[in-house]
């Protein structure tokens, strides 16, 4: 894809204001999520104590340095200091860590309050903080699955499409087997057998997620391999691997780009489902599905547990879908 063409696509994308706005907004949310520690943390960015500077987010200090004798781990939020200590503390906007329990509320889950703007979950942890950290986990999962499964799908699809014939037939049969086996169910079985970690989750999901994109890549390759430039490459004696990845693939990337936002959205939704069933990231990792599960369990008492993670999920998915629509529009304006 030449850069002029790319610029043309980008211009088309920018013309669609809903998509471009969503991209910017999503980028913003993404940055917040990636910098979760800077947004929600129970340690201050920096602290001045008796004329010295401390950076508790980066370094761990022993409470004794601040004259606290009765603790092993420093708690900056309840830190009692005298005026003579000349203390200046700069806290992040949300003063909770995702694993920290709010001990000041009578029972869990606690409703939204000044301390916990979105309430606490059933172990007393701040919901807003966990939503922010959960976004990062979701994005990590969705992005990794997207990349891995697309790599697999591109490999399978391109080889199948380029080779055609018998290899293609066998590949199609294998894919038929793959698609017939219920993917979500199989994933859950495998996760139940192994001890789940997020990386195992990513690998397993990718192993079952590559089929969709391979269809499109295969179709593109079946079309493109008849083109004259491919013939020319072959006449020049180029090796098949080089033709596939250097010559045809760059021309066949349209479906990859157009489906990517939806793939990420699907990944986020999938992880939420897995976490909801308890087969996702291991506790105590913050995750939206786990919050939703708590919301279902405490549906009579804690509406905030289901509502706010749902809103987060809904907003993220909407933004991604809007971006996806924009990309699709940019690449193929006649369909919509």
């Amino acid at each position: 894809m030449s850069s002029a063409e790319t610029r043309r696509y980008f211009r088309a994308f920018r013309r669609r204001r809903s998509a471009y706005g969503s991209l910017i907004l999503f980028g913003l949310i993404f940055c917040i999520g990636m910098a979760a520690e800077l947004i929600a943390n129970n340690k201050p960015y920096f602290m001045m104590y008796r004329g010295k500077f401390y950076f508790p987010m980066i370094r761990t200090y022993h409470p004794a340095e601040f004259g606290v004798r009765d603790r092993i781990v420093m708690d900056y939020k309840t830190f009692q200091y005298r005026a003579s200590d000349r203390v200046v503390i700069l806290f992040p906007p949300i003063r909770w860590s995702p694993y920290e329990i709010n001990k000041n509320v009578p029972r869990f889950p606690a409703p939204p309050s000044r301390l916990n703007p979105l309430g606490t979950d059933d172990r007393g942890r701040d919901v807003l903080t966990r939503i922010i950290y959960g976004f990062r986990v979701s994005m990590l999962y969705a992005t990794c699955v997207w990349i891995l499964s697309y790599i697999l799908g591109i490999l399978f699809g391109s080889v199948q499409g380029y080779a055609g014939g018998r290899l293609d037939f066998i590949g199609q049969r294998i894919i038929e087997i793959y698609t017939a086996v219920p993917y979500f169910f199989l994933l859950i079985i495998l996760i139940a057998i192994f001890q789940p970690t997020i990386w195992l989750l990513i690998v397993l999901s990718s192993l079952f997620g590559w089929v969709g994109i391979s269809y499109y890549i295969r179709a593109e390759f079946l079309r493109l391999r008849k083109f004259e430039f491919v013939e020319a490459c072959r006449a020049l004696g180029m090796k098949p691997g080089k033709i596939i990845f250097r010559q045809i693939l760059p021309n066949a990337l349209n479906p990859v780009i157009t489906f990517s936002p939806f793939a990420v959205a699907g990944g986020i939704m999938g992880l939420a489902g897995l976490d909801f069933l308890g087969f996702g990231v291991p506790p105590p990792t913050a995750s939206w599905g786990e919050l939703l599960n708590q919301g279902k369990r405490h549906f009579t008492t804690a509406w905030w547990l289901a509502t706010f993670p749902s809103a987060a999920l809904f907003i993220t998915l909407s933004l991604l879908n809007l971006i996806g629509e924009g990309v699709r529009y940019a690449f193929d304006p006649k369909k919509y």
Binding site: V181, P182, L190, K296, T300, W303, S310
Partner: protein
């Protein structure tokens, strides 16, 4: 076209084969195998799980804690853990068959033998020998004769032949047969029978042999032979006890006493104990030592029991149960302990191959069928998925019983979706670009970003009678008082319970289907034939509904086949949230409880339905639009 679908249908066979391979691999990935998982599941609450791998460990665990032997045997059979995984290269041929195997087995007592027949026999223990001896003496012991003998080998038979069995040594003494082979065979047999019948004469050699076996067992703790049946020898032993005790004895304790008196006259207990001690296992204080001593310790234990006051007898009977790994029940005189013939029949079923001749093609076939995978596949093809231990009934029955719920929701949500989406799509297409189109598009777009299960949770939280409104029930198919209601109220109750899940089922496909419909109509309207129709003066309503709609439905129709999966299998997440007792919930709970048989059955059936659904959607495609050609 017919040829294409024929080929597609035929392609189901290899595809299904592939699916079974995947399911098989997944099931075999489970650490320790499904058998171990299930046993652990059955006996949780018992002693701490001892590590180990494979079936042997599982069986050891089971023996320790008294998990039902039958369960383990059925599991073992079902998963074919006595067989190689994919390819069986150890199909016995003629050289190893028949009497020779038995004789070698009897004489060598090599529990680690290369020959599976010999190994098998030696692992099965001496319970078979009384049956086999007449066959050996009778030189006509052909394969079929042997089969009959084994089939008839109940205790009654043993009793009738007891005399001939006991007279073996005598026969040996008088036998001047020039065939030294037979003589040595009988010699070997009689040596073996010394264990039980003539301990005095052959005690020394017998004990030495036993000790050798035990040494082997101790050095191969994971491969203890015969743990599956756990010492059938003691069964023989008990038969002998019963016989010696005679019919006159009244209670089991008295029987024991009578027999023991007789036994003591013939043997001296101290010699056994001395040998046990010499082997370094002390007396019977420690359970572990007794386990190692095997049935040799039984007489000593019996003696001890008899010296105890009656109410202290029970722990030692339990001890004996541990030794023989079955319930230690003293046989009632004249009664028929049925398990003997059952054991022998099962044994013959498993080992028939060793004693019958197999043709070359049959052997080739067996290389594939006589494997874990082969047996498993055969069971699946006959829809035999085994027993579900959580539901305690055959898996296929469980699955069928869960289907109606999933089908109800599948069918209704399918029709409801199409009933709403198609008119909506048409309306949007006709008013393309209007405020209505724009507004519904936004609405549809928002719905697209709502996962069904999230909506389900929100519905329950907000309308399920928790913090806000109480409009919908929180789950289930009907209310608790359903069966007291009148017909009309019943229908209303069902609908009341249906609404919330239905909305969540529908939301998944709603947006894509509506927009597909809309785009499809727009595309058709812009085609020449529609323009012609309008140029002829037809009003646009007729053009859309009569001309364009038919063609526009083609892409929609392909979705029908894909729906088949949800039709039958439901949605795991939604069924779980709304507590609908369907296939999805079944899958979820069986994964949680590690009910591997149900998981396997569920996987295979869902896959099959999906496969047929794919073909169905292609088929519908061609039926609606004959121009489409897949060939």
């Amino acid at each position: 076209m017919k040829g294409y679908f024929l080929r597609r249908l035929l392609a189901i066979i290899p595809t299904f084969f592939g699916i079974t391979v995947i399911v098989f691999i997944v099931l075999n990935l489970a650490p320790g195998g499904p058998v171990e998982q299930m046993i652990r599941q059955i006996r949780y609450g018992g002693r701490a799980y001892r590590g180990g791998s494979g079936l042997s460990a599982a069986v050891t665990v089971a023996c320790d804690t008294g998990v039902n032997q039958e369960i383990i045997e059925s599991l073992r059979k079902q998963y074919g853990f006595d067989k190689p995984v994919i390819l069986n290269t150890r199909i016995p041929d003629r050289r190893n068959s028949g009497i020779d195997v038995l004789v070698t087995a009897l004489m060598t007592f090599d529990t680690a033998s290369e020959n599976p027949g010999i190994r098998e026999l030696n692992q099965r223990g001496t319970v078979l020998y009384p049956v086999l001896i007449p066959a050996l003496l009778d030189e006509r012991g052909s394969d079929t004769g042997l089969l009959e003998l084994i089939a008839r080998a109940d205790t009654g038979y043993l009793k009738r032949h007891a005399e001939s069995i006991l007279s073996v040594p005598t026969a040996l003494a008088t036998d001047t047969d020039p065939d030294g082979g037979l003589k040595s065979k009988i010699e070997a047999v009689s040596t073996l029978f010394g264990t039980v019948f003539e301990l005095e004469q052959s005690r020394q050699s017998e004990i030495i042999r036993r000790i050798k076996i035990m040494q082997w067992e101790l050095s191969h703790p994971s491969k203890r032979p015969g743990r599956g049946f756990c010492n059938p020898v003691s069964k023989v032993f008990l038969d002998v006890i019963a016989r010696h005790a005679g019919e006159s004895a009244v209670s089991s304790r008295e029987q024991l006493a009578v027999w023991w008196a007789e036994f003591q006259e013939k043997t001296d207990e101290s010699a056994i104990l001395e040998n046990l001690k010499a082997f370094g296992r002390g007396d019977m204080q420690a359970e572990e030592n007794l386990m190692r001593a095997g049935q040799l310790a039984v007489p000593a234990t019996v003696s001890h029991i008899l010296n105890l006051p009656p109410r202290e007898t029970q722990p030692f009977l339990d001890l004996l149960s541990g030794l023989s790994a079955g319930k230690f029940e003293l046989p009632v005189p004249g009664g028929q302990p049925e398990s003997n013939i059952e054991i022998l029949k099962a044994w013959w079923g498993d080992n028939r191959l060793i004693y019958t001749e197999i043709s070359r093609p049959a052997r080739l076939l067996m290389a594939f069928t006589h494997t874990r995978y082969g047996i498993w596949l055969k069971n699946i093809l006959t829809l035999d998925f085994g027993q579900s231990f959580t539901y305690d009934q055959p898996v296929i029955d469980v699955i069928i019983s869960k289907m109606p719920v999933s089908i109800q929701f599948g069918v209704i949500s399918f029709f409801a979706t199409y009933l709403v989406c198609i008119p909506l799509g048409i309306a949007k297409a006709v008013r393309d670009g209007s405020a209505f189109d724009y507004g519904t598009s936004i609405l549809l777009f928002l719905m697209w970003s709502i996962p069904g299960f999230m909506l389900a949770i929100l519905l329950i939280v907000f309308f399920g009678g928790g913090s806000f409104f109480s409009l919908i029930p929180i789950g289930g198919l009907y209310s608790d008082n359903y069966f007291d209601l009148g017909l009309w109220e019943k229908i209303l109750d069902r609908i009341h319970h249906f609404i919330a899940p239905l909305i969540c089922y529908m939301i998944a496909e709603f947006t894509t289907l509506t927009l597909l419909m809309k785009n499809s109509i727009i595309e058709e309207i812009s085609k020449d034939y529609c323009r012609t129709a309008r140029a002829k003066g037809l009003d646009s309503r007729t053009v859309v509904l009569k001309h364009a709609l038919r063609n526009a439905l083609i892409p929609i129709a392909t979705g029908i086949g894909g729906f088949l999966g949800i039709f039958f299998t439901g949605s795991m997440l939604l069924e779980m949230i709304f507590n609908l007792d369907g296939m999805g919930l079944l899958g979820y709970t069986s994964v949680l409880s590690r009910d591997f048989n149900v998981i396997m059955g569920d996987l295979v059936i869902i896959s099959l339905i999906t496969l047929f659904g794919n073909i169905l959607s292609d088929f519908i495609y061609t039926v609606i639009d004959p121009r489409i050609d897949f060939v």
